[in-house]
């Protein structure tokens, strides 16, 4: 009888950790695409969250109209987002200097455009892909995992792992990393930098296509909800630096823990405040976090 409360507490803590880590892995998934595009093409994509929402809505309607399961709708949304991202690359290719600031302003315009288009097309109702409310009971610890959580955890970790292997183990990954580190030297070494831009945007689009349906499964879709996802991506990118997959995953877990703790301790209304404060603190502590070597060398 004496050990009962403490066991209960431990179980609660483990449950909390599992929830936070599944949220954090999803955050890392959101951030990888943003960070790749920023690192390789030097483009701030503020519309990242809106694109995730867009693919979330796509998956939602595929699910509603044709009752397609997630496993089918994810490839479809991957291909459509690949297309959208390549269009975005064309749009951002020839904008005037200063490049980063102008991509920021253009994608800010894109945020407004997409938000209002989504408002027009999907209305301001909150939508979610209804999960089957099946709880998987893991007998050993007495933990509860929803099926959604398991899907999100495995898909996020698997995608993160694939991108990590792609960057570290393949020749293409080497070329991408070289472009990230120094564009001019990469060009001298025979890397086709234009193609690398296309590949980065394409990969980013595919990752958005994976994240969107998961988002629709995990949280409510609302046309104005995209900025939150973008802020998460920005926070993790500053924390880890561009293109650092392991750092992004670690940052995602920390952010997941902080946000879950905030929600638990002071209520869900303050969660947005936590991420905004973290972002500002990170920007103050690491003002160069978004600007890797290329920015310093040009100054």
């Amino acid at each position: 009888m004496v050990s009962f409360p403490s066991r209960c507490l431990i179980r609660m803590i483990i449950q909390f950790l599992v929830d936070a880590i599944s949220l954090g892995s999803f955050y890392a998934l959101i951030a990888i695409g943003f960070s790749l595009i920023l690192g390789v093409a030097h483009a701030f994509n503020l519309a990242h969250g809106e694109m995730i929402l867009l693919s979330g809505y796509l998956a939602y309607f595929l699910n509603r109209q044709f009752s397609l399961p997630l496993i089918v709708s994810i490839p479809i949304s991957m291909f459509s987002m690949l297309f959208v991202a390549l269009c975005l690359e064309r749009l951002l290719r020839r904008i005037p200097d200063p490049h980063e600031l102008n991509t920021l302003v253009i994608t800010f315009g894109l945020v407004l455009l997409l938000q209002n288009l989504m408002l027009m097309a999907f209305s301001a109702d909150y939508r979610i892909i209804r999960p089957e409310t099946r709880l998987l009971d893991i007998p050993v610890h007495g933990l509860f995992l929803t099926e959604t959580q398991i899907v999100i955890l495995t898909l996020s970790l698997a995608t993160t792992g694939i991108v990590y292997l792609l960057l570290k183990k393949t020749f293409l990954g080497k070329a991408l990393r070289a472009t990230m580190q120094d564009k001019e030297t990469a060009r001298l070494a025979g890397v086709n930098v234009r193609n690398m831009h296309l590949i980065a945007f394409g990969l980013g689009g595919i990752l958005i296509g994976v994240a969107g349906p998961l988002y629709a499964r995990m949280a409510y879709l609302h046309p104005y909800g995209g900025m939150e996802a973008t802020l998460v991506a920005v926070i993790l990118t500053i924390f880890a630096g561009v293109g650092r997959i392991r750092g992004l995953l670690l940052g995602g877990w920390i952010l997941g823990l902080v946000e879950s703790a905030t929600t638990l301790l002071v209520g869900s209304g303050w969660r947005e405040l936590a991420s905004a404060v973290i972002l500002i603190l990170l920007l103050l502590l690491r003002p160069d976090g978004l600007m890797p070597k290329w920015a310093k060398s040009t100054q």
């Binding site: 407004l112 209002n116 288009l117 408002l119 027009m120 209305s123 900025m227």
Partner: protein, 309 residues
């Protein structure tokens, strides 16, 4: 100019056109206030913070202290300026894109605090029943701003004229040249003996103050404010779009943007697309940056009077 003064007599007094042009003046003021800061070279994506603080400051002072709205609007402006000081202190080292991101995030702080502090700010329900601007009697003329659109029209026109003078002063005076020097090259400006930090501080604070005043005015014009409305991305975006479209480096640029885009949005797009008509602003800023990076003002100047270049 004369056309703008006699306009209410030309068209019907109660008409929607009068109201829309009046609101175009209002958004022109907002754009001028935003551009004041962008003259120093920084792009802010978070002016909604000043706007919302101004609106809430004014409405709550009015509610709790029962002061005259004219006074509380000024207090709202001061509250905006106070947040501007905070920006200046915390974001001193940031420039360019990181600065823009920080401003974007800093809107969330007052928004979430006001959203959750229900006892004092009424939380997400917002403040309703904000009193209208009280009437003023100028000699024999009674200006009833609440009821008479024409009176309101002239009030907003006066505010716009004042803001235009401030904006023009910030471009052509000695101070204006200091701002320009800071924008072009901070190190060179410092070498010329300009106090870069002080100039940025002055510009940011005046911009925040006037944006706060616009916010306070907005509360009294509309009569209702809520966190999601006054701290919205839309409020941060509209002055940016208007200034970029009109031309950031012309003294009349933001006004040009407000006079062309806002009526088009309200009269044309709103009737075509009741929901999501603000998509226009997003589209415009993308097209502007690709085709007219200097804005319409610069383009017109180049093509209409090539001699001046």
């Amino acid at each position: 100019m004369i056309l703008l003064i006699v306009w209410p007599w030309l068209v019907e007094q109660e008409g929607i056109h009068c109201r829309v042009i009046g609101m175009a003046f209002f958004y022109g003021c907002l754009a001028l206030a935003w551009n004041l800061f962008s003259l120093s070279g920084a792009i802010s994506l978070g002016h909604a913070a000043f706007f919302g603080l101004g609106a809430y400051g004014s409405a709550l002072f009015c509610h709790y202290a029962s002061l005259s709205p004219y006074l509380t609007i000024l207090l709202g402006g001061l509250l905006g300026a106070l947040y501007g000081i905070l920006w200046h202190v915390t974001f001193r080292k940031l420039r360019g894109a990181p600065f823009a991101l920080a401003t974007l995030a800093s809107v969330e702080i007052p928004k979430v605090v006001i959203d959750n502090w229900e006892g004092f700010t009424f939380g997400s329900l917002g403040v309703v029943g904000i009193p209208e601007l009280p009437s003023l009697s100028l000699g024999s003329v009674l200006l009833n701003f609440g009821k008479d659109p024409a009176a309101l029209y002239y009030l907003l026109l006066m505010v716009l004229l004042f803001m235009t003078l401030v904006h023009r002063y910030a471009m052509t005076s000695r101070w204006g040249w200091a701002i320009r020097a800071v924008r072009e090259d901070e190190i060179a400006a410092a070498a010329l003996g300009i106090n870069v930090n002080k100039t940025r501080f002055q510009v940011l604070c005046s911009s925040a103050f006037f944006t706060g005043i616009c916010g306070g005015l907005y509360g009294h014009l509309i009569g209702l404010i809520e966190p999601g409305l006054v701290f919205s991305l839309h409020i941060s975006a509209v002055p940016l779009v208007l200034s970029m479209f009109g031309g950031r480096l012309q003294w009349y640029g933001p006004i040009l943007g407000a006079f062309t885009l806002y009526p088009v949005d309200q009269l044309l797009f709103r009737s075509l697309l009741p929901v999501g008509h603000s998509a226009l602003y997003g589209l415009i800023v993308i097209l502007t940056l690709i085709f007219f990076p200097q804005g319409m003002g610069a383009w017109l100047q180049k093509h209409l009077c090539p001699a001046s270049n």
